[in-house]
């Protein structure tokens, strides 16, 4: 009896809730830590990025107007679905990076817990950062944090699942939509996560995931005039100045982060709106 031939997975992009191949037709090779070929993920093009921005923009208004409670439920739902697929992610991470199953298991569990942590923030961030301001006059005046809009995210090379979730969860928690560029060297957990997100009640276009060459795509993220913010946590330091100069064209909010779990990551991609109204009879 011959040995069973396993069914290899085809990794595509995740744009607007669908899984298209890159329009460029380009792919690149990903190997595991032992140098064995695993897959040919898409090498996304500038056009794919444009398509993702269009999807993210059209989803933005609906997502930001969903109640904070609803967004929290959906983030929690992602955690639930990921929990159900724990074993798949553990084996993918250990196969890809060569780490022991225990270490891979720790990363997957931390990822699930981080999603739960951010799920709980959606309806609390306004209480943390909002204010009623005692102005010197007959006015009622309050400040509330609001989602920025469409945010790009350059994922870190390492901790391909945890680092990826640490980027997208705080961005979408407040009502932004995101275009995430997965780790170039370890993109596969992010693309498997797309399958989780696709089945987690996340509206189409709220999360869009690209794979490809960071050095090629990051400047396009920066210069795109319809991206409002950019998380460059995963960017090589030698590209930071170039990306910030390009981002200045529309005064894009560009940040990088050291911590994984901090409300600062949510607030970095929110604006403060101050509303005034007279008081009187």
């Amino acid at each position: 009896m011959s040995k069973r031939i396993d069914v290899k997975k085809t990794y595509k992009l995740f744009i607007g809730g669908a899984f298209p191949r890159t329009e460029s037709g380009r792919t690149y090779e990903v190997k595991n830590s032992k140098g064995v070929f695993i897959a040919n993920p898409c090498m996304a093009s500038r056009k794919d990025l444009k398509d993702a921005v269009v999807a993210a923009r059209s989803a933005q208004s609906g997502w930001s107007q969903a109640t904070a409670y609803n967004r929290g439920q959906i983030l929690y739902r992602i955690a639930e679905m990921l929990e159900g697929r724990r074993e798949q992610f553990i084996s993918e991470i250990s196969e890809l990076t060569g780490v022991a199953a225990k270490k891979a298991s720790d990363e997957v569990e931390a990822s699930i817990d981080l999603l739960v942590w951010y799920a709980g923030w959606t309806d609390k961030i306004s209480a943390l950062d909002g204010a009623t301001n005692p102005v010197a006059g007959p006015y009622y005046n309050f400040t509330i944090p609001e989602a920025l809009g469409v945010v790009g995210f350059i994922a870190p090379k390492k901790s391909a699942l945890l680092g990826f979730i640490a980027g997208i969860a705080p961005i979408i928690a407040s009502g932004n939509t995101v275009i995430a560029l997965a780790s170039e060297s370890a993109p596969l957990p992010a693309m498997s996560l797309a399958e989780v997100i696709a089945t987690s009640d996340v509206p189409a276009g709220v999360v869009n995931i690209l794979t490809g060459k960071t050095a090629e795509l990051a400047p396009w993220f920066a210069s795109h005039m319809d991206i409002d913010g950019l998380d460059i946590t995963g960017l090589d330091s030698k590209l930071v100045a170039e990306v910030k100069v390009a981002g200045a064209q529309n005064l894009k909010r560009i940040h990088a982060f050291k911590e994984v779990a901090t409300p600062g990551r949510i607030l970095a991609f929110m604006e403060s709106k101050t509303v005034w109204h007279p008081i009187g009879v």
């Binding site: 200045a248 990551r265 005034w276």
Partner: protein, 479 residues
């Protein structure tokens, strides 16, 4: 019969202007090398000669600020720092008349506004931030925060003293020392403020004032000894600053331009709205980044509204800024007047209808009559570009959503206005408008407790309130 107002000029006696000024560096005035004149824009009278800050001057100011930081300011407790700010607030209140007159002379704004808005608010900003100095651990940003160090601050000519207060008060409260550059055309109240620092006994070098033009500003932005830049001015310059600091460790806050819409719904209280629209665009000659320069009005009431607005505009008194009856003063500079004229001509050329009330403008000085353009469409330059003058563009809408869409159709996002008597509509519109400040049934209100700043290309960060404070604390910024 018609009653006319008799002239009611404010006395200039409380103000003495030196013929020539240097920079205020390390606690004393130091002579400048080159100088340029500063004039009264209402009369073109030369008021004084202002020093043009060179590299040597900026280096000296940064050095003095660093020395003051290390030797004294960083070692002071928050409580003691706060006392200096309280003193400054009080001295500004005591010398309010002098500052108001000088501000109107140098800037061209009506004394009514410098007296009732600029100077009291400047004092209020010092008073508010004084109370923060010893409470930073309660600012909700943790206990590991610290000052940036030497902060470079560049301010515009529209609210010279008020912008100085917005910048210097939070910087000092949080333990930074500053190098501030006032605008080229309006340096006098900043230089008078140096005297206030001395009267308050502020240690030498904590506040340094270097005068000059954009070249001096660029020297401050690019100076390696400066840890944070705070800039208020045009979006164009803001982008240049954002590029200049890219890849450096400098923190930046930018308060930039705007093209605010006042959205008037058909259920608005008409007379109050007319008054609010007038205040929104003609306050401070329209030299306001958050000025309500677009009136976006529901079509069903637009004809009636425009008639009332024109009637109200006929009562606007244009003239001598020092006359207490004056509503609209002088345009700040010849260069700014040219920009206003150019954009207004573009409005004519692109097919909008211009209207101004009959009004006699003085022969000397820089003047522009209050103006509205009707029949403006979204692609017109006067609907897209910041005019920064007393020019209002009127657009109409039919459905509330169309009103919001037109209001948001700009790269800016500093402020917006809503006029409606219906609370639920106001809250709906305030959520939809993409702007950092939304005034409902009022406009152009400011307060130190209240965060101010823009979405989109109107800048980075907030000033005022707890939000503004955090921009001056390291460890809070998300980098």
């Amino acid at each position: 019969m018609t009653f006319e107002y008799a002239p009611a000029p404010e006395s200039r006696a409380s103000v003495s202007i030196k013929p020539k000024y240097g920079h205020y560096i390390g606690g004393k005035f130091v002579a400048g090398e080159k100088h340029f004149p500063t004039i009264n824009p209402a009369t073109e009278e030369v008021l004084s000669s202002i020093a043009l800050g060179s590299k040597k001057d900026v280096d000296a100011a940064v050095k003095a600020a660093k020395k003051a930081l290390d030797a004294h300011w960083s070692k002071l407790s928050g409580r003691e720092r706060g006392k200096y700010l309280f003193r400054i607030a009080r001295i500004l209140q005591e010398r309010a008349r002098e500052f108001a007159v000088l501000e109107s002379l140098d800037n061209g704004k009506p004394i009514r506004e410098s007296r009732d808005v600029d100077v009291p608010l400047a004092a209020a900003h010092f008073f508010y931030h004084a109370g923060w100095a010893d409470k930073l651990e309660f600012a909700g940003v943790g206990t590991k925060t610290k000052a940036h160090g030497v902060v470079g601050q560049i301010i515009p000519w529209n609210f010279p003293l008020l912008m100085l207060a917005w910048k210097i008060a939070p910087a000092l409260a949080t333990g930074n020392t500053v190098v501030l550059k006032p605008a080229e055309t309006t340096s006098l109240t900043a230089l008078l403020f140096a005297e206030v620092c001395e009267q308050a006994g502020l240690p030498a070098g904590v506040v340094n004032i270097v005068t000059g033009d954009g070249s001096t500003g660029a020297l401050i932005v690019n100076h390696p000894g400066i840890s944070k830049i705070a800039f208020t001015g045009s979006t164009e310059v803001g982008k240049i600053i954002a590029q200049a600091v890219a890849g450096t460790s400098k923190s930046v806050t930018l308060e930039l331009g705007g093209k605010a819409a006042n959205v008037v719904f058909e259920d608005a209280a008409i007379d109050e709205s007319v008054e609010g629209i007038v205040n929104g665009i003609f306050f401070n000659q329209g030299h306001v980044c958050c000025a309500g320069s677009r009136l976006v009005i529901q079509e069903s009431i637009s004809d009636e509204f425009i008639k009332k607005l024109q009637k109200r505009m006929e009562k606007i008194r244009v003239g001598d800024p020092l006359d207490k009856n004056t509503d609209l003063g002088a345009i700040n500079s010849r260069a700014q007047l040219e920009i206003i004229k150019e954009l207004s001509l573009a409005g004519d050329a692109e097919g909008a209808q211009r209207w101004s009330p009959e009004c006699a403008l003085p022969n000397k000085g820089f003047w522009f009559a209050p103006t509205i353009f009707t029949g403006v469409t979204q692609s017109h330059r006067i609907a897209r570009e910041e005019i920064f003058g007393p020019v209002l563009s009127v657009l109409t809408f039919r459905t509330p959503q169309e009103g919001i869409d037109k209001a948001n159709n700009t790269p800016f996002g500093l402020s917006a206005g809503i006029w409606s008597e219906k609370g639920s509509k106001i809250l709906w519109a305030s959520q939809k408008l993409k702007a950092g400040v939304v005034w409902a049934n009022t406009f152009n209100k400011f307060d130190p407790t209240s965060p101010f700043g823009g979405y989109k290309e109107s800048g980075w960060g907030r000033e005022g309130g707890r939000h503004g404070l955090t921009a001056y604390l390291k460890g809070v910024s998300y980098e």
